[in-house]
């Protein structure tokens, strides 16, 4: 029997499969029935969970994580199989030794950097405007998610960036 851990945000769900019944999955000791009713394409499936019907989009990424769209909600899910579990423990113990967390501010969409409102070594507070990015004719301010020190600014005003391009690195201050 295979057992994996599904991590959704802060929560972890233990899932185990039944040996010979592919439609039964135990999640945190609850037995669930799941059936694939219709495959619209490789990613878009109509599923029934305990006979409740859902249309989902399921993308399994190459690193083993997945994104799942359901009823307008997007979930980023970590799938931890026994192999990754080992790896995670290793990373965790290393992590707890380090003192400060690093946050990367990424471009939420492709756009033009209109204004950079912070400089390297600046201290910023939660909610401070860091960068103004323009897309679809609108200016959007990217705010600091944590209080911290600007470690690095990777862009200049007037540059255009792709989605998910790292713009700023902040080191969280406690």
């Amino acid at each position: 029997m295979e057992e994996i851990v599904i991590q959704i945000g802060e929560n972890e769900y233990k899932a185990s499969f039944s040996e010979n019944d592919s439609n039964s999955i135990m999640v945190n000791d609850t037995a669930m029935k799941i059936e694939l009713l219709k495959k619209i394409d490789d990613r878009i499936w109509s599923l029934a969970v305990n006979n409740d019907v859902f249309l989902i989009e399921f993308n399994l990424q190459s690193n083993g994580d997945a994104t799942l769209f359901i009823d307008g909600f997007a979930f980023n899910v970590k799938i931890i199989n026994p192999l990754r579990q080992q790896l995670k423990k290793f990373i965790k113990s290393k992590d707890s030794e380090g003192k400060s967390r690093v946050y990367n501010i990424k471009a939420p969409m492709p756009g033009l950097i209109v204004k950079v409102l912070c400089t390297q070594d600046n201290n910023v507070n939660i909610g401070d405007n860091l960068i103004i990015i323009e897309a679809m004719k609108m200016e959007n301010a990217l705010k600091a998610p944590v209080a911290g020190k600007i470690n690095k600014v990777f862009v200049n005003e007037g540059e255009t960036v792709e989605k998910d391009y790292t713009l700023i690195e902040i080191i969280q201050l406690n």
């Binding site: 592919s22 999640v27 249309l55 307008g72 909600f73 799938i79 609108m138 959007n140």
Partner: protein, 498 residues
């Protein structure tokens, strides 16, 4: 009547206009930039012409090519939709001088109302109440700062040349004034080609209420009542309703009359909208006039049973209004939710990507004005509005309930949309039962509600993920009830041959 009209727009509104034209037996002509080759509006039209341009957006702004295409396609009139060239008086002028008809107001009215400071001046003279503030344009930071001090904070900066929330900034105090002023100028310059700004006193707890008016070329005017557009994010509307909960019959006609006076002051012809700020004391102030078809026009159509776009085309063809004020009977309640490709969990940040799958709601009292289909690409080139979901109900409560159900049956895969946010608003007590204003999202909407709605899916998401993971690993889980049988065998069985 026209034989053929060209629609110089794209997306849902191009299709909406073509539907009205087709109902009138008029041939429709689409224009497109090559990135839009597979967009639904191109394929809905009777004929389609490519406009060549450097950027996708500039195709829909190319006056010369659009007029040339109208001639080439034998179109007699051009409908501009909203956005793009719809409020550019030089476009209307060029169309008229090319011997074609612009489906909208005359150039003078567009120009007079398009210049927001001049419009304030004009309205003030016509006895229409305006928000305290400047009547002249400002480009100088120091002068602007002086005026802001005089009006007392909070104040609102607005683009003198435009509308639609672009170039608009609320400023709470003098500390952030310079930053906001410059940002508003940049946005305004980009959106309207003009960086002048005007300043208004920011009025607290106001609703955004607008009146739909319509007039023909013979001086007949009718108002079609109000729309309440107070649910906004970034000063841009996202949910609208008609009628408003704060107007009664008397006030509706009073505001309607003021709106008609505003329209008459600029010799307005065709459909237009006069926007007002409306405060808790039921005082209202002229905000601006939109000299075009509004995004949210369908809710007025639902409660008045008047097809506004059809009327627009008929008026442009020189027909008289077929109804007068006494013929207008409002019935029931209508709500519109704009479906944007934006992430409500991340300050409504625009999303780009591909619509991997689409199933739109339908049914009694449900209308979808859509510009997308499965496979559509949503790029940064255009506004992220995908479609509009409109419901009608006998009363407000049933319109809201119908909206909630319709939103829940929307299936859009591939990118994040505002649908979950809109479901949450339909369930919000303040929205359902109380006075709400334009600060609704900031003051009465808690993102935690959305997070909670999302959390309810977690267990199911976990089991689905486990299932998907296993399916990928084993690739052998069958789809339920699929038997690959030969049709001959089935036929044989049914005839008892086997």
């Amino acid at each position: 009547m026209f034989k053929s009209i060209l629609v110089s727009n794209r997306g849902e509104i191009a299709i909406r206009i073509m539907k009205a034209a087709k109902e009138l037996g008029i041939e429709t002509v689409a224009i497109y930039h090559k990135v839009d080759l597979s967009s639904p509006h191109v394929h809905f039209a009777d004929r389609a012409y490519e406009i060549k341009s450097e950027t996708p957006k500039s195709a829909y702004l190319d006056i010369e090519q659009i007029i040339e295409t109208a001639h080439r396609s034998g179109s007699e009139a051009i409908h501009p939709g909203y956005g793009f060239l719809s409020e550019r008086s030089e476009f209307a002028e060029a169309i008229e001088s090319a011997g074609l008809k612009f489906i909208g107001p005359r150039p003078y009215a567009i120009k007079a109302m398009g210049n927001k400071t001049q419009a304030r001046e004009l309205m003030s003279k016509a006895g229409v109440p305006i928000v305290p503030g400047t009547k002249e344009k400002i480009t100088d930071l120091n002068k602007a700062r002086e005026i802001a001090d005089l009006l007392k904070y909070p104040i609102l900066l607005k683009a003198a040349a435009g509308g639609g929330g672009k170039g608009m900034r609320k400023v709470e105090n003098e500390k952030t004034f310079a930053e906001s002023f410059e940002s508003a100028q940049r946005e305004s310059l980009k959106a309207f080609g003009d960086d002048s700004i005007y300043i208004e006193k920011y009025l607290e707890n106001t609703k955004h209420i607008e009146i739909q008016i319509i007039g023909d070329e013979y001086g007949n005017y009718v108002h079609l009542g109000e729309r309440d557009c107070s649910i906004q994010r970034r000063h841009q509307k996202i949910i609208e309703e008609a009628p408003s909960t704060v107007l009664d019959e008397e006030l509706r006609h009073k505001m309607g009359q003021v709106a008609l006076n505003a329209a008459k002051a600029v010799d307005y012809v065709n459909a237009g909208t006069v926007e007002f700020l409306f405060d808790k004391n039921k005082e209202f102030y002229f905000l601006e006039m939109n000299t075009r078809l509004q995004v949210e026009h369908p809710i007025t159509e639902m409660v008045t049973n008047i097809n506004i776009v059809k009327e627009q085309i008929k008026i442009a063809a020189g027909k008289k209004l077929s109804f007068n004020q006494d013929n207008i009977k409002w019935s029931g309640h209508s709500i519109e939710c704009r479906i944007y490709a934006e992430d409500p969990f991340n300050s409504f940040m625009p999303e780009t990507g591909k619509i991997n799958y689409l199933r739109e709601p339908s049914g009694f009292g449900v209308r979808v004005d859509s510009g997308i289909e499965s496979g559509s690409e949503i790029s940064i080139h255009f506004d992220p509005m995908l479609a509009k979901l409109i419901t009608w109900g006998r009363d407000r409560k049933s319109a809201i309930e119908r909206m909630e159900k319709a939103l829940q049956s929307y299936r859009i895969k591939g990118l994040k949309t505002t649908v979950p946010f809109e479901v949450a608003v339909m369930r919000n007590d303040i929205f359902k039962n109380e006075y709400y204003d334009t600060s609704f999202i900031d003051n009465h909407f808690n993102i935690e509600v959305l997070n909670k709605m999302k959390q309810e899916y977690e267990l199911k998401v976990a089991v689905m993920t486990a299932f998907g993971y296993r399916m990928n690993a084993k690739r052998q889980i069958p789809i339920k009830n699929i038997e690959k049988n030969s049709k001959w065998k089935i036929l044989g069985r049914s005839r008892n041959l086997m």
